[in-house]
């Protein structure tokens, strides 16, 4: 009993528990869930599909985790910024006003970096509003949430810009001769780079210190504003990378659909990962597991025939449950309840003993 309790208190319990639950349901529904096959030289299977499709959410969740930790707020612009980054990348590659490009206007890498840079720029904008002007994160990022997608559409001259150039698809699909989808590699790279940044520098501790008590962190010599700003920029870069990957998947810049509602999945991933949305301590592995759990849920729902439009209902229910479970009042209620039960038990035992 006590070992079970200890297990429940572990940081990664909630995310892993959710993940296993979803996988179990899938296993019961369709035993072929875990089978992986090789078709046309690439891997096929539900698991591969989840890992592949979950890449963008996982990348976004990495940035979102830091933003939540440092500012106790969420960046709700990441979906729109994804779209803008994808559009900017395609515009650079195709040239302004070109609807369908078969040759590139500039080297592919430049366009892609341009897209990521655009993400960073958006992050810097959000960061400046939150860190320097002390605007509520939700309100500050609402600006780009509304505007970024539209700016992307403007950049693409109000149309879907296609890049009909084979290597452009590599990033979002498969590299020639490699059976594993490229987005999985990119996700691993992003996670690695950010983890190293957090572990090898003091950034991880600074972010938590600022998130827990910005004033005290400042007195101790941390530039709280800069740390907050940096987190938003990292979040923007992640959105930029995710945007370029998403655009590469469909080798086009579909401003209206790239990253649509992804900000919600990213935030949900952070919450599901056992991170408190009140900021402070964070748990990056949790967020990443959370991201794939969400993708697993989405994939499951689709496989069960629930339409894409209705899937958010289920997600919403999950969000409600997570938020309630994390709420301090709920935790306090649980604690007093167990304390009372304990008191009642000991009192009962005492009476028995006295009799």
């Amino acid at each position: 009993m006590s070992s079970l309790k200890r297990l429940v208190k572990k940081k990664l319990f909630l995310p892993i528990f959710c993940m296993i639950l979803v996988l179990l349901i899938n296993l019961l529904k369709s035993p072929t869930f875990f089978s992986i096959a090789i078709n046309n030289g690439v891997l096929y299977g539900r698991l591969i599909d989840i890992l592949n499709r979950g890449s963008e959410i996982a990348i976004l969740a990495v940035g979102q985790t830091l933003v939540v930790a440092v500012s106790a707020g969420t960046d709700i612009s990441v979906g729109s910024v994804m779209s803008l980054s994808g559009c900017f990348c395609c515009m650079l590659l195709a040239g302004y006003g070109v609807n369908s490009a078969t040759t590139l206007a500039m080297p592919m890498i430049v366009g892609m970096l341009g897209g990521v840079l655009m993400g960073a720029l958006c992050g810097a904008f959000n960061g400046a509003l939150v860190a320097k002007l002390k605007i509520q994160p939700m309100v500050a990022t609402l600006i780009l949430f509304t505007a970024a997608r539209a700016i992307g559409l403007l950049l693409c001259d109000n149309q879907i810009t296609y890049i009909r150039y084979e290597p452009y698809k590599y990033l979002g699909n498969f590299l020639p001769g490699v059976p594993i989808p490229t987005p999985i590699f990119i996700t691993i790279a992003v996670i690695l780079v950010v983890s190293i940044l957090l572990k090898k520098t003091a950034l991880g501790m600074y972010i938590q210190a600022v998130g827990i008590n910005g004033r005290a962190a400042r007195i101790s010599g941390i530039n709280s504003d800069v740390i907050c700003f940096v987190c938003y920029v990292i979040c923007g870069v992640c959105a930029g990378i995710a945007g370029v990957v998403a655009s590469s998947r469909i080798y086009s810049a579909d401003s209206n659909n790239i990253g649509l509602n992804f900000e919600l999945d990213a935030i949900l991933a952070v919450a599901l990962g056992g991170n408190s949305l009140a900021g402070g301590k964070f748990n990056l592995p949790g967020s990443i597991i959370g991201a794939y759990t969400i993708q697993a849920i989405t994939t499951t729902l689709l496989a069960m025939g629930v339409s894409t439009d209705q899937a958010p209902v289920v997600k919403a229910i999950i969000v409600v449950i997570i938020v309630i479970v994390q709420a301090p009042t709920f935790k306090a209620w649980l604690e007093t309840r167990s304390a009372r039960r304990l008191a009642a038990e000991t009192a009962g035992a005492g009476e028995e003993a006295s009799e």
């Binding site: 090898k200 520098t201 003091a202 950034l203 501790m205 600074y206 938590q208 210190a209 827990i212 008590n213 004033r215 005290a216 962190a217 400042r218 007195i219 101790s220 010599g221 941390i222 530039n223 402070g280 301590k281 007093t336 304390a339 009372r340 008191a343």
Partner: protein
């Protein structure tokens, strides 16, 4: 004065532990009807813990509470439970709604209703007037509460408690933010309540006030009951002795004979520093190995002055030289790099990073001085943490325990450790001993002198003049945001008090 001997409540063998710390160890407390009973003890003695155990904020681990008119062992699970059986608490920070009227605050949650079930405003205002008149408090009950001073707000809180038929009234440091006149008003109210048979438990740090209003004193130390005394039997010196757990003589000078060896080099030289709205231009110099006190009443600008020196609040005028070099600190990090350290007085808001571990809290300032890219190796961090946990005898389960789980005094030690490990040349300690148990308090003062002997310059602020007299060789006197002077040489409690109070300026 005839003291009523009828007991209101008794608490016996109350024990309460927090992770790693025994906050209360078989403590006891008895309150009688119609008495004003002082609960005294140093910070960390367990005064607030025992009150919280009584009022249901904490659940006690063991022990017995008997209350007049209540059957059996009393277990309050919330302050509401406590209120139901007649125990009300008024805290230093008033727990009322400042944006509502006085009358509304008096009757919130139990408003008089008319037949239709709506609030009967007329009756409410009439009843409020009656209540206030009974207690001889003159004010307009229809006014918004925030229009009145903290003292009046506290009285409203007391009136509310009294009106809810409280038998035991607990006043937790009610006077710490009041001026003398307001204190006198509060005492009048307390005395009149006493006449009416209410038992009042009075928690305060001001010895003076205890002797003005109290009938009996319970002294606590380190979570334990030291004794209960009628006021006549416990003169001031004995009270302090009981609180500190040693004869007052033990506390005699810890300064080395012949004073401190103060160097010639000026470490910090500030001219005309000021911060708009908080502190008017001041000069400040400190030499190597000197311990300088800053004294003054609460709100006189003590903390504001050192915040300005350190650069926590950016100075708008003036110049500051640190070891001969100009220092224009735009943020604390500049000051840290120049060799300063600053332990702020508001531990919770400016010091603790509650959810981070003891280790992380200790190395934080050192890390930020090193810069973000030069991470301290984990082994080095562990070593530093262990070293200071040992040196300052920090009571913690381990170095990885979150700081929030430590008691206030131990948290303070962790934050001191944070600065000590940067080896500052100039260390500012703003109320460092607040919330530190008495044994460590002396240790702490000795440490300060030891650092000074090793060449560190220290600014030391304490509300207890006694403490500063024992450590400082010079004191800056603050009044109303102004540095009004310095005193040096033979300093006594009286001379310092005189300087603080002002009058004839020397």
């Amino acid at each position: 004065m005839a003291m009523n001997e009828q007991i209101l409540f008794t608490m016996k063998d109350i024990t309460k532990t927090f992770p790693g710390v025994i906050a209360l160890n078989r403590a006891q407390l008895t309150l009688r009807k119609g008495e004003i009973h002082a609960l005294m003890g140093e910070n960390g003695a367990g005064k607030s813990t025992i009150i919280k155990c009584l009022t249901g904020v904490y659940e006690r681990d063991s022990g017995e509470i008997r209350m007049e008119g209540v059957e059996g062992n009393v277990h309050n699970h919330s302050t509401q439970d406590a209120q139901k059986i007649g125990i009300a608490t008024v805290y230093q920070e008033v727990n009322l709604c400042p944006n509502l009227s006085v009358a509304e605050n008096l009757f919130i949650g139990r408003e008089p209703r008319n037949k239709a079930g709506f609030i009967d405003w007329k009756a409410m205002i009439r009843l409020a007037r009656e209540t206030m008149e009974k207690l001889e408090i003159t004010l307009d009950v229809t006014q918004t509460l925030e229009n009145y001073s903290i003292a009046i707000q506290q009285m409203v809180a007391i009136a509310r408690a009294v009106d809810m038929n409280c038998k035991a009234l607990i006043l937790d440091e009610p006077t710490s933010s009041l001026d003398d006149k307001e204190v006198a008003k509060l005492f009048r109210l307390m005395r009149s309540l006493k006449e009416k048979g209410v038992g009042i438990l009075f928690v305060t740090h001001f010895l003076e006030q205890v002797y003005q209003v109290c009938d009996r004193i319970t002294v606590m130390r380190n979570g334990q009951f030291v004794g209960e005394y009628p006021i006549e039997e416990l003169p001031r010196l004995k009270l302090v002795g009981a609180m500190l757990g040693k004869d007052f003589n033990d506390l005699a000078s810890i300064k080395p004979e012949g004073g401190l060896s103060i160097g010639e080099d000026v470490v910090v030289d500030a001219k005309g520093l000021s911060h708009k709205g908080t502190i008017k231009p001041f000069d400040f110099r400190i030499r190597k190995g000197e311990v300088v006190g800053v004294t003054g009443l609460l709100g006189s600008g003590r903390s504001e002055m050192v915040r300005c020196l350190y650069g926590a609040d950016r100075a708008q005028t003036g110049t500051l030289e640190m070891e001969g070099k100009g220092l224009k600190a735009t943020a604390p990090i500049d000051s840290i790099k120049a060799g300063m350290g600053f332990l702020p007085d508001d531990r919770k808001a400016d010091g603790c990073i509650a959810d981070l571990s003891v280790r992380e809290n200790i190395i934080l300032a050192l890390q930020s001085r090193q810069g973000i890219f030069r991470t301290l190796p984990k082994a080095k961090q562990d070593e530093l943490a262990d070293q200071f946990i040992d040196l300052l005898q920090i009571k913690t389960a381990s170095r990885e325990t979150p700081l929030s789980q430590l008691s206030g005094g131990n948290q303070q030690k962790v934050i001191l450790a944070r600065w000590l490990c940067t080896h500052p040349d100039f260390l500012i300690l703003d109320e460092p001993t607040r919330g530190i148990d008495i044994g460590t308090k002396t240790e702490f003062q000795k440490l300060v002198l030891k650092f000074a002997a090793e060449g560190m310059s220290v600014v030391f602020i304490s509300s207890e003049i006694e403490e500063m007299l024992r450590t400082c060789s010079r004191m800056c006197v603050m009044r109303d945001g102004n540095k009004v002077g310095e005193i040096e040489g033979e300093m006594t409690q009286e001379s310092v008090m005189g300087a603080i109070a002002g009058g004839d300026k020397e």
